[in-house]
């Protein structure tokens, strides 16, 4: 289920920890599995657990605790918008509303073509750049005024 490329990346993570602490690599391994599959199916979680020699339920506990893991399929792009107070004071809520209107969906919904899932995120640690959003857990987008949001949407195809 996990590709050899994913396994090689997971091995690099395992090497960061003492030899008897393979479980420490579970967060990174789940993130890698999610990158490979687009989301985390029960099968993916189980194969990570088996590879690390931990109980599948223990890996599932981790996957369901941290909110950047997606336990259900999401669109090709997941856009998370921060609306927490510091961002809210500089247009974070407006940025979310603008996206909802543009995409015709609400938070936790995916566009009918399966392209974009919209999420309301919590503090991303970049409040000075508000409004901020993250694409697919990887790319932080700063100062997202309507013009920048339009540009981002044009890019996500």
């Amino acid at each position: 289920m996990l590709t050899s490329e994913s396994l090689a990346r997971i091995d690099r993570e395992i090497a960061k920890y003492p030899a008897d602490q393979r479980q420490s690599a579970v967060m990174a391994a789940l993130a890698i599995a999610q990158e490979q599959q687009g989301w985390l199916s029960s099968e993916a979680i189980e194969s990570v657990a088996n590879y690390l020699g931990m109980e599948p339920i223990a890996a599932y506990e981790v996957a369901s605790f941290y909110n950047m893991y997606d336990l259900k399929p999401v669109g090709k792009y997941k856009v998370s918008v921060c609306t927490n107070l510091p961002c809210m004071l500089s247009g974070g809520v407006d940025a979310g509303d603008y996206l909802k209107k543009k995409l015709g969906i609400g938070y936790n919904e995916t566009t009918p073509d399966g392209l974009i899932t919209l999420k309301e995120g919590e503090c991303m640690g970049a409040c000075g750049d508000a409004p901020v959003m993250i694409v697919n857990n990887r790319r932080m987008c700063s100062w997202m005024q309507p013009e920048q949001i339009d540009k981002l949407l044009a890019e996500l195809k």
Binding site: T83, L85, M88, L89, E122, C127, A130, M140, Q145
Partner: protein
């Protein structure tokens, strides 16, 4: 974003955005000289810790605990494994300084951690980086590779016989992992649920071994303390509040961003550095230390200097140095509603008072904001907070309660107006003008 301004800086000297973060740049700025001197002179561990004690460096993550004292708790002659861990899980709303330190000066953190490891006899360290700032995590891994290749990490550092290796571990979206024992659980590959203390991490930490956890900015300050000497560092700030500190200014100012200033600098100076109030409007209130710190009304805030003692006297906390500025367009009920939602979302669910209480806090503030408040709701909120505080394993429950208590204490009329009139004291169009899209005037 960048570090936008500074007064007598240390951490941000010589930084040049994305152009000067590499090892060669850091060495040019005098980097790694502190570590080199310690290793070459084989400085006794106690001397290093004493220098940090003399600096009165206080933990920059939020609690403000004296760093040197924390280091002295480690059983440094204990022969087994020991760990140093850096807390870069920066997710306290309003805080974004560690991101800039790791982005523009990552080697200062690596050097600080290596010095800490030497002083406490640790051979291995981890830097736990907020999952949302992925590019920063990748950059830190690159910086680690550079340091390893140059002999500043690994075995037999600079031929001294001292071994220390350091690795980056990423979070994946859980505010609670900023709590140090939740962070350790998370590195161990578990849900990030805080542990009971005692035992404290200095005796039972990562993998059950003695461990010291400090914030990113705390570690980044260490090389400067060793180079300048503890006393000089202390004098850069004010008595009992050593050194300079990065403040993250967000909200209704013209230039949101990070500013490095000596502790003890007047709030008015910081506000001016951040470009003053947006649109020339009036300051209404300020949360001076991240979302968990009690809110301070404008007049009291303008009398504060930015240091642990002054902010504490004003009834709040310097916390992580996250200064959330709110002007007269802000509806305090709505502001509190958003914060309460955050704690409700982020409670780990382990302790009943916090799990249930944060849900109650959010639901009640939400109904007040939406015109469905009941006459006894303010008493109810107060009772929920007192039933959470002090009854949980970690401080998240207190962190959720303090905003509720302080918002109601200082802006009770606004909450009462909402309940009585089923609408906001601040007209909606005025609120919109304040919190709409905004372009910083850098």
């Amino acid at each position: 974003m960048a570090i936008l301004g500074a007064l007598n800086p240390m951490l941000s000297v010589g930084l040049d955005g994305d152009n000067a973060w590499r090892l060669a740049d850091y060495v040019k700025r005098g980097g790694y000289t502190a570590l080199r001197r310690i290793l070459e002179e084989k400085l006794p561990q106690g001397d290093v810790i004493n220098e940090v004690k003399k600096s009165v460096l206080r933990g920059r993550g939020g609690a403000g605990f004296p760093t040197g004292l924390k280091w002295s708790f480690m059983p440094r002659s204990f022969p087994g494994d020991k760990y140093v861990v850096c807390n870069s899980d920066e997710g306290e709303p309003g805080t974004f300084k560690d991101r800039d330190i790791l982005r523009y000066n990552p080697h200062s953190v690596i050097e600080g951690m290596a010095i800490a490891a030497y002083a406490m006899g640790a051979a291995r360290g981890y830097n736990y980086i907020h999952g949302e700032v992925w590019e920063i995590y990748q950059r830190f891994e690159e910086a680690l590779d550079e340091a390893r290749a140059a002999g500043f990490l690994g075995s037999d550092l600079l031929g001294s016989g001292f071994n220390f290796d350091l690795f980056a571990h990423h979070g994946y979206g859980a505010y609670i992992c900023g709590e140090e024992t939740a962070l350790l659980e998370s590195i161990e590959g578990k849900k990030g649920q805080p542990r009971f203390k005692p035992p404290f991490p200095a005796s039972f930490g990562l993998y059950g071994k003695p461990t010291t956890i400090n914030n990113t900015e705390t570690f980044a300050s260490i090389p400067y303390i060793i180079n300048l000497g503890g006393e000089t560092y202390l004098e850069a700030g004010k008595a009992n509040n050593g050194g300079t500190k990065l403040f993250s200014v967000s909200g209704h100012v013209n230039r949101p961003g990070n500013y490095e200033i000596p502790l003890g600098t007047p709030f008015a100076t910081l506000l001016e550095m951040a470009g003053g109030m947006r649109g020339g409007r009036q300051l209404k209130a300020c949360i001076p230390g991240g979302s968990s710190a009690p809110v301070v009304p404008a007049a009291a805030m303008m009398d504060c200097t930015m240091d642990y003692d002054s902010i504490s006297k004003a009834g709040s906390m310097l916390g992580s140095g996250a200064v959330i500025v709110m002007d007269e367009t802000t509806c305090m009920v709505k502001a509190l509603e958003r914060l309460s939602f955050f704690y409700y979302e982020e409670s780990c669910g382990q302790c009943t008072p916090c799990r249930e209480g944060t849900s109650w806090l959010y639901k009640v503030v939400h109904r007040i904001e939406h015109g469905k408040g009941r006459p006894d709701d303010l008493d109810l909120l107060s009772s929920v907070t007192t039933n959470i505080m002090g009854r949980t394993i970690c401080a998240l429950g207190d962190a959720a309660s303090m905003p509720v208590q302080s918002f109601i204490k200082h802006f009770r009329d606004e909450f009462a107006y909402h309940i009585e009139h089923r609408k906001c004291l601040v007209p909606v169009d005025v609120q919109r003008a304040g919190s709409g899209f905004f372009t910083a005037t850098v």
